[in-house]
């Protein structure tokens, strides 16, 4: 702790094998040399600084890390950065309007108190957007919406306000 002590020589990188990747993230071309085992979630968060994508379980159950991969929702914790080479990835950071105003789905979450701690929210939103964009028919019944968000755990809200938010957003976006 003393300033007189010689600073320890510490390692700066691991001995992992690496791979070069190129992909598009939120519309921007990105190239990087990454460890072969680096998860897409860690790549987005720690290599690109896009920390809006959260990590909740790293075994694919909670959905907090959900991003869009080539337009459809996928778990970034169950995808290697290397697998995303050549893909188009979209994260929560790309959702709000360019002028900084909220996307109708984000607005609906706020209006309906659809978030509390906000940790699951980005993954929840990316999953819902994927459903909104999907060619599959959109079922906006209570049960249908519960099914849409059923791959995302939320520990705070009890889901009811999220369901209201999905319905409000779909209406605002003239979906369903």
């Amino acid at each position: 702790m003393s300033r007189a002590k010689i600073r320890a020589k510490l390692p700066t990188k691991s001995a992992d094998p690496t791979v070069d990747i190129e992909l598009t993230v939120n519309g921007e071309r990105v190239s990087a040399e990454v460890s072969t085992r680096m998860l897409l979630s860690d790549f987005l968060r720690h290599e690109l600084g896009l920390t809006g994508t959260h990590v909740g379980c790293e075994h694919g159950v909670c959905g907090a890390c959900t991003v869009l991969i080539n337009g459809v929702a996928g778990r970034s914790c169950l995808t290697f950065a290397a697998q995303a080479a050549g893909c188009e990835v979209r994260t929560i950071e790309s959702v709000a309007n360019k002028d900084g105003t909220l996307h109708p789905l984000q607005e609906a979450f706020r209006d309906c108190h659809g978030l509390q701690c906000g940790y699951c929210t980005p993954g929840m939103i990316m999953n819902i957007l994927s459903s909104f964009n999907s060619s599959a028919p959109l079922d906006l019944s209570d049960e249908g919406i519960r099914d849409i968000i059923s791959g995302n755990l939320c520990r705070c809200t009890g889901y009811q306000n999220i369901i209201a938010a999905v319905r409000q957003a779909a209406k605002a976006m003239s979906l369903g």
């Binding site: 300033r3 990188k13 920390t51 509390q116 940790y119 755990l153 009890g158």
Partner: protein, 799 residues
């Protein structure tokens, strides 16, 4: 701003930031060159450590350091026992890194620090620990028997604490009873499972001698105090920040988890930022849990259903250590009589060491267990006396005129006697009756049975002592440039929307928009007196402290504005961010008042220029600041509650049970709830609905499963079943608002309420549904399909 903000459904200030992905949770804080931690954890529930070899791990490429109990200096200690109580005999606490013995699977044995978490995990696997496993007993009832393997050789029969509390004269009342109902109930272990696991990051500035720690904690001030004490650094040189925290529910206020000390230690040792981001498995095997209790409850009653005495004996599983003292068991034991008069009570508990993760409060903190015991017993009493379940409750509820209702002899977790302060219990039950219409339901139920469908109705009434002391503070300052109002308090939010509800309190006093009130909390540099977020206390304790501070700032603002506008303060009103002469268009902005009250009159900005247009803010002779006067519009005050304030409510549900596949479907769920005056009903409902969802988890899905060797076999979200949206029904909520007389705002806590009665509601409803098929009772939660199946099987033995 003439509209009152207190009580309004205001949208949350914090939301836009969280919604666009710009939240800042611990792992989001950019720390250049940070090193990452992985722990070596015990694979045995109880073992002697024969040796630890770290050589291979140290040599692994990318590893910066490996720590064991032998090279952590002052941290090689038994951690503090936070809440002492005389009923505990030499309470045991954990060491940051095990020395000699391990006491549960998951206990931290060594810490690896490396360039990234991947490498740290590789190296952790290279630490070679030689264990000598010891026998264990996981079953709570067997653990207290003579001859059972001991967690701590110092504690015979694994008893950590034993406490009897008596209110009234139970022995005499029992002698006069006409009926006794006895049941045994069990609630199994669960875990908070916040979506963000715990996380700690630290950096040490050698030049300034300053340690900065980001901790996903519910109590940064206490963490700061502990770090300063243990590392022997001045408190001012330690800054602890709880940034955005992704849920806590009690789990994030242990003081201390090993990592909360070891990470700052490594940052100081290594001169680089260090991070520990707990993963989900570690959250299951390393972070605290709660709930296992086995109650044997007896109700002594008159034939008319009036309960005159209650006797409850229960076992409480405290895990391998008891750092938090008897809090959970004590809250359970003092909540045992619920909303009922029951004037004579004897309640005894034994807290039992088991070789498992430590037990500390998880949302509800003993109340769900106590509620399950008393409410299931009330149902049984009704059944035995041939009374309706609503009626038996009606006959025992405390009446409005009986408040405050004292349970002399029962000391609550704040050390004060239980005193239920206010409420409208009968009205609440009446509202539930109207909503569920049990008589009409009985007709539907009968018709459904005819068609081979099994519907059931259940209910449960709960009380919750909230807003525990000792105190919190509030600091308010009106910014001289913008006129925005900055508010600080010592506790911290994990999603409860403090930034909005506290802003609502302040906005009413200072006449500003809620969005112009900016709350900074959870940072010891912003406010460093206070306790923490737990026990449904933030709105009550910090809310009232902030309210008191706002009153002072309001008074200062009006006095200064009166001088500036040369009118009497009584002729002024605060609205739209300014002080206005009533009935005129003359006003001065809060920014200008804040500037004018600072005798330093550099015209830095527009507010300062504006301020010079008015008469001075202070009228006195002598120096610019009069004796006792402070510059600016600022105040700090504190609130210390006289005792807990008791919220309450009653929930009811209608379920359908499919006896062929043993599935429960909740068709309706109704909640009648009273937390006193509501600051923001939308946020109250959010808290309640989230609590109910966790309650449903505990009632039907979530159980921590240890095998007989003490391995946690469902330490993941595949097998520990946190409900998805598909498992949670719509919730109907009705509010009552009975202001508490105990605090200026008339508010009671709401954070934990939702989860408390759910298990009893579901059990009551399932039992009611299956009455034609089985006389078995559901006295054990979670109620699994296998449990329903077993109950049906008992009714109809295989032919």
């Amino acid at each position: 701003m003439s509209t009152k903000m207190f009580g309004a459904r205001i949208k949350r200030n914090i939301d836009p930031q969280l919604l666009i992905g710009e939240g800042s949770f611990v792992d989001d804080i950019p720390l250049a060159g940070a090193l990452h931690v992985a722990f070596v954890r015990s694979p045995f529930a109880r073992a002697k450590i024969k040796s630890i070899s770290t050589e291979f791990a140290e040599q692994h490429p990318g590893v910066a350091a490996v720590y064991t109990c032998d090279n952590i200096g002052a941290l090689d200690l038994e951690l503090p026992q936070l809440i002492p109580h005389p009923c505990m005999d030499s309470p045991r606490t954990q060491r940051p890194l095990a020395r000699g013995d391990v006491y549960y699977v998951g206990q931290t044995v060594a810490m690896v620090v490396a360039v990234d978490r991947y490498t740290a995990e590789d190296a952790a696997a290279l630490v070679d620990v030689d264990y000598d496993p010891l026998p264990v007993e996981i079953d709570l009832e067997k653990a207290i028997l003579d001859g059972a393997p001991l967690v701590h050789p110092t504690h015979p029969n694994n008893i950590a604490a034993d406490l009897v509390q008596i209110s009234g004269d139970p022995d005499s009342a029992i002698a006069g009873a006409e009926h006794v109902t006895k049941i045994r109930v069990q609630v199994d272990r669960s875990t908070a499972a916040p979506m963000e696991c715990r996380a700690v990051a630290a950096t040490f500035d050698k030049v300034m001698g300053e340690l900065t720690v980001w901790d996903s904690t519910q109590g940064p001030i206490a963490i700061r105090g502990g770090l300063a004490s243990i590392f022997n650094i001045d408190e001012d040189k330690v800054r602890v920040i709880a940034p955005h925290v992704g849920g806590g529910f009690g789990q994030k206020v242990l003081l201390f988890y090993p990592d909360e000390l070891l990470v700052p230690f490594a940052a100081m040792q290594l001169g680089r930022p260090v991070k520990f981001i707990e993963d989900r498995r570690e959250n299951f095997i390393g972070s605290s849990q709660e709930r296992t209790q086995i109650h044997e409850i007896e109700l002594y009653a008159k034939k008319n259903g009036e309960v005159i005495a209650l006797v409850d004996r229960f076992l409480h599983d405290t895990g391998a250590f008891i750092p938090y003292g008897i809090a959970v068991a004590q809250v359970a034991s003092t909540s045992i009589a619920g909303p009922y008069r029951i004037p004579n009570i004897r309640v005894e508990f034994k807290a039992v060491y088991t070789p498992t993760v430590v037990v500390t409060p998880y949302r509800g903190c003993g109340r769900p267990q106590a509620n399950f015991a008393i409410e299931r017993a009330m149902d049984k009493l009704a059944e035995e006396l041939g009374l309706d379940r609503f009626e038996v409750r009606r006959r025992n509820l405390i009446a409005d005129h009986e408040f405050p209702y004292l349970r002399k002899g029962l000391l609550f977790a704040d050390g004060l006697p239980v005193s239920l302060d206010s409420g409208q219990y009968h009205k609440a039950l009446q509202l539930l009756t109207e909503k569920l219409a049990p008589e009409e339901f009985a007709v539907q139920q009968k018709a459904a049975r005819g068609a081979g469908r099994y519907l059931g109705l259940g209910l449960s009434f709960y009380v919750e002592g909230t807003g525990l002391g000792p105190y919190e503070g509030g600091h308010i300052k009106i910014h001289p440039i913008t006129g925005k109002v900055y508010v600080n308090t010592g506790l911290t939010s994990q999603g409860q929307g403090h930034d909005t509800v506290f802003a609502q309190i302040v906005a009413d006093q200072l006449g500003v928009a809620v969005t112009d009130v900016i709350l900074v909390e959870g940072d010891t540099k912003a406010f460093d007196w206070g306790v923490a977020t737990f026990a449904s206390r933030a709105a009550v304790v910090s809310g009232n402290a902030i309210h008191k501070s706002a009153l002072i700032v309001r008074k200062k603002t009006l006095a200064a504005a009166a001088n500036m506008l040369e009118v009497s303060a009584d002729d002024l009103e605060l609205r739209d961010g300014a002080a206005w002469v009533k009935g005129s268009n003359r006003s001065v902005s809060l920014a200008a008042i804040a500037t004018a009250t600072n005798p330093l009159r550099y015209a830095f900005n527009e507010s300062a220029k504006a301020a010079t247009q008015f008469a001075p803010a202070s009228k006195h002779d002598g120096p610019p600041l009069a004796e006792g006067q402070h510059p600016g519009l600022e105040a700090t005050d504190y609130y210390s509650p006289p005792s807990a304030t008791w919220a309450y409510g009653v929930h009811g549900a209608i379920v359908e049970v499919d006896p062929e596949i043993c599935a429960i479907k909740i068709k309706r769920y109704v909640c009648i709830h009273d937390c006193g005056n509501m600051i923001n009903p939308t946020i109250v409902e959010g808290q309640v609905m989230g609590g109910i969802a966790q309650g449903i988890g505990g009632a039907m899905y979530e159980r921590i499963e240890y095998d007989t060797e003490g391995n946690l076999i469902n330490a993941n979200f595949v097998d520990f079943l946190v409900p998805y949206a598909t498992e949670i029904p719509p919730i109907e909520i009705l509010h009552l608002e009975t202001p508490t007389p105990l605090n200026p705002l008339g508010v009671k806590g709401v954070g934990e309420a939702g989860c408390i009665p759910v298990a009893a509601v579901i059990a009551s409803a399932v039992e009611d549904a299956l009455r034609p098929l089985t006389h078995e009772h559901f006295y054990h939660v979670p109620i699994t399909p296998s449990a329903i199946h077993a109950a049906l099987k008992k009714a109809a033995p295989a032919n």
